[in-house]
Amino acid sequence: MTALPALPRSPGALAARRFLRNRMAVAGAVFLTAVAALALAAPLVAGHDPNAVDLAAFREPPSAAHLLGTDSSGRDVFARLVHAGRISLLVGLLSALAAVALGTLLGSLSGMFGGPVDAVVMRAADVVLSFPSLVVIVVLAGVLGPGTALLVLVFAACNWPTACRVVRGLTLSLREREYVQAARAFGAGRLTVIGRHVLPAVLSQVAVVGTLLVAQMILLEAVLSFLGLGVRPPQASWGNMLTDAQNLTLLQTMPWLWLPPGLAIALTVLAVNFVGDGLRDAVDPKGARR
């Protein structure tokens, strides 16, 4: 006798099972947990003050005292790396959260109200999406001066359309569902319907969009900080730790300075993308992979 198939479970449990079966996604989640733990515990694990200048220990190769060596100001690279993780992850998470919140709000309004509201929001989404956020922030940072808060604001302002489109599409189809129509018939206002029916229903899809955005935002923060337009030194971020690598001598002779932050960005973003991909397949198994 063959075993009976498992009884159908709730959609959430099914999605969780599909996610756990995706090895890449699980590996990504484990890696991210480790990175986040290191970043959170940075002051405990760093062993050195990330900003303590020690000109006696200047550009030292990795040693027992300095796990990843020291930089041009004698600062401990490992301490800077784990502290940089905090700011890089924070900017990534905050920006993605803000972008998704704005997108969800505009998308649900657009889908629920339709008409001119919809037309304006969707046109705006097209326009915003066609502008590369990197260039926008290069210009703004150039004129207004760089800063972390500006990064988060501009990232959110440039990246809400993805979530907006997804939420709008879902809202449009939800609007026609019987239970939503029934709620409307009983006098529930559109905003009430958005709060009570639309938001819970779009949550899983929005989480997917949000996760993939986190990856993009971490990358964007890195490149801008690398160019000197994002997180400002002495505050360490993975991106600005790489700025020194533009010096060819340093690049050639001191790989411990640029390899760790570069790998940190690459692996973290890869892990976030794996998780995002896994979430998408788990939430929408048919749509994601044909």
Binding site: V135, V138, V139, A141, L219, F226, L229, Q252, V272, D277
Partner: protein, 319 residues
Amino acid sequence: MLAYLARRLLINAVVFVLISVGVFLLVRAAPGDPVRMMVNPEHLSAGGAAFVAAKRAELGLDEPLLVRYGIWLRDALGGDLGYSLVSRRPVAEVLGERMGPTVLLMSTALAIGLVLAVAAGTLAATRRNTAIDHATTVAGLGTISVPSFFLGIAAIYLFSLKLGWVPSSGMSTPGDGGGADVLAHLVLPAAILGLSIAGPFTRYVRAGLLAELDADYVRTAEAKGAGPGRVLIRHALRNALVPLITVVMISVPQLLSGAVALEQVFAWPGMGQLAVSSIGQLDYPVVIGFALFIAVLVLLCNLAADLLYAAADPRIGLS
């Protein structure tokens, strides 16, 4: 079809006005005296305070905001973007001489990215759910996850410093500058930039091709006696690439983002490098000129996407 294009043109015009207002406000927000930004510095140093006041009136800086916007827009569209605070030359000229290298870098990267994407996407779609398909997906995620500036740094370390195959920076060796020399300088940044866009393009090619391979007309072609290669290239791929045209055109501004960082890493004398160094030197007129250029580029790309799409897909004519 004409109505469609007219509508798209109108939308683009509205968007341009909105953006130009944004850029104009940015000009106002920039620190420093606008006269200093708009007037030939040679005249400025010779003139003195009275000259500045006269220029202020002449530039319309005393007029209401709306009039000043009009004057600024007219001048900007006429190519008068003010003067660079650093090189003291007209901004349009400074930007113009950086355009060639950027276009060369971006078009080479685009070609590399497209070839890679069509090859990988086709491979993945025709060998769906095999190890090759999964490997392509993972590799695609890899290319969008590794920051291109870090890849650039690593590539310089490996190919220039350790192996000595190609030069590490610039566009040509002083005193040389022949085709082969430029090519040697171009290959790393273009390949890395191409790789960075190949990932998303591959996804489009794969998904599009899978949809087309399922289409009825593919079965018709098979029933005619066409072989698998012919079915793939003459029929399915041809249809799958139509939507890719739009994606490619819309990606051009994003490609410029990648170019900004890579030009910096490779000291490629393009517009991105100019923008970054101008920010460092607080050369606002150049930064704002760059912004305006991007705005125009984005709009032109959107328009080109619409036009090309209409030209490539005969079905558009219907709606």
